[in-house]
Symmetry: C2
Subunit: 327 residues, 2 copies
DNA sequence: CTCCTGCACTTAAACGTTTTCGTAAAAATA
DNA sequence: TATTTTTACGAAAACGTTTAAGTGCAGGAG
């Protein structure tokens, strides 16, 4: 079938081990032989079989990335892919590959995440959009495999996490709205299964309560999707008293909200101010321009990769990293 | 380190081969032993090492997916991830994994795509957003490895392709605009390195020429990004004579265009009609709602996976698949 | 001349599976 | 009972690579 180092060895009348060492640039092989071996290898179209190499090295040079589409956290998919793109380029620098696991459908039929990791011999795993009620968390925390959680604030001996400081982000956004003189500020929560959803809401609630302005009627349950923002917008539009402002816990919902308000003849920002969270590029191109709290996806992804290699290479302990958002 | 079938064999005082056969449900092992082996394996926390299994089987059960961010085809990233999401779920049904290759930076430092595939022993590869001027095309067409190209109309013995019928999509959109009575229709081209970009443009040009309406001044070079749509919008806004309509060759540029027109006080659709291509969900939530030619990303991705397994499993020849768009 | 050192290569085992073949005992057939 | 078939397991090789240990040999030091 395909040409192996044995084939090269046979043709050159040397041993496979010399070929291996020559190709890998080991120093107990002469420069002369190295050159010749490389040349013959090229000639014969040799391609190293990484499966074999990885088996003997007990190193897979592979990172597992888990993306959850099991629940309807629609938004998690689009942000997950923003992260993924950065991560791909970062791991390449370390000579690693990424194998992707998509988690969806009923849990029962799925193997545990640890099993998936062990089978593929991945050296570390990154979870994007891990859910609140996921029963596999403890197993992951105790499994010894280097893990980085994105958007979920948990850590352990072998688990780091990185996310934007969501509470600070909410504070930024709220201060902005308050500085405009708004008092009755509504809030659209994200998907219940996302931890950051609750963090964002709790901070909003705290700030409102601090100024005795909290009103449960102005809190709405969204799920991060355009659709949910739109539907909630329709509800808000028919309230007896409109809020002064609406804080949508992500941009997609803010955009859906804008649409609903437009359809109902509510002017932004004259009648109601709207602010989002994420800083999706598209927000700058819609009408009116979306005000938003910005989280830097590249920064998050780069740090995630940095942290996982910190653990893989230096055996570092898990730690938490909170990045600062901007408004 | 981790427990192997040898460990299980030793503890049960049988041979590794029996353990392997028991775990794999081969029929030359008694039901009784199967049960016991599985139980002990569970007890000991055995996880199969797929690297080893794949090495002996000479089957990697892995698909390579190439995503190009080398050029500035910004849009290709976002659509690539729409495909990826579907493909993940489809390959899982076949017990395959996906390893991701991101192609960016200077070509010279990169290994050839075939090399990457051979090294990882992938059984097939999918290319999303392969570029017009990529010098590796011939190598891929002749390499024997099952390949599916998405959004690039090339095929060979071992290469299939799937894309929406872009020419038909343009016709649909143009007919729609013509039915509204528009005559001077401008066109925003996509990124020059994307094949579908040219296909869309050529069809537009043909239709305009057929009715003697083609005017090169109404053709603009975009790159599929929001930004480029916006910049072109600013240019169009100051033209002596505004076009009746603008056909943007994707939705993102259409949205950028909308923004520019809004800023310049041009009303949509009163002054100028706009139509896009892709049917991104967000188009339904902006103001005004975006008219668009729709391509079904799921359908494309599902067919791509179907076609690649067709080649992998049955050794089928490469073929071309054009899917019908809707307006 | 002997001993040591370093060089350049070979030998052989190892990584964890799977699978072909062999074989003994049990079961079925005549 | 004698023969064939089936069943259930074991032995050993194989997948393609890496690497620790071993070997022969040249050159240098004493």
């Amino acid at each position: 079938m395909s040409v192996t180092i044995k084939d090269i060895a046979k043709r050159m009348e040397i041993t496979p081990s010399s070929v291996s060492k020559a190709l890998n640039g080991k120093d107990d092989v002469s420069a002369d032989l190295k050159r010749k071996v490389r040349q013959v290898a090229d000639e014969m179209g040799y391609k190293k079989n990484m499966l074999a190499a990885r088996l003997v090295n007990m190193k897979s040079n592979t990172l597992g990335v888990f993306i959850f589409s099991r629940t309807k956290i629609k938004n998690s998919e689009s942000t997950a892919y923003k992260y993924l793109n950065i991560m791909l380029n970062e791991v390449k620098k370390h000579g690693f590959d990424i194998v992707l696991f998509s988690i969806e459908g009923s849990m029962s039929v799925n193997k545990s995440y640890v099993d998936l990791c062990m089978e593929r011999q991945v050296e570390g795993a990154i979870f994007i959009g891990f859910e609140n009620n996921d029963p596999h968390l403890e197993e992951l925390q105790g499994c010894g495999l280097p893990i980085v959680m994105i958007e979920k604030n948990v850590s352990s001996e072998n688990m780091s996490c990185v996310m934007v400081d969501n509470a600070a982000g909410i504070s930024l956004g709220m201060n902005y709205l308050l500085s405009l003189g708004h008092q009755n500020i509504a809030f659209i929560k994200g998907h219940f299964a996302a931890e950051l959803s609750d963090i964002r809401y709790q901070q909003y609630k705290k700030l409102m309560e601090d100024s005795d302005r909290f009103n449960a009627d102005y809190v709405f349950d969204g799920d991060f999707s355009l659709e949910s923002g739109y539907n909630i917008g329709l509800k808000i539009a028919v309230m007896d008293k409109l809020p002064d402002a609406v804080f949508a816990s992500n941009d997609l919902m803010a955009i859906g909200l804008l649409r609903a308000f437009f359809e109902k003849g509510i002017s932004i920002p004259e009648d109601v101010s709207i602010i989002g969270f994420d800083n999706f590029e598209i927000g700058k191109f819609i009408k009116p321009k979306l005000t938003t709290v910005s989280q830097n996806f590249s920064e998050i992804a780069e740090n995630a990769i940095m942290m996982i290699f910190e653990m893989i290479n230096s055996g570092g302990k898990g730690r938490s990293l909170l990045l600062v958002p901007e408004v």
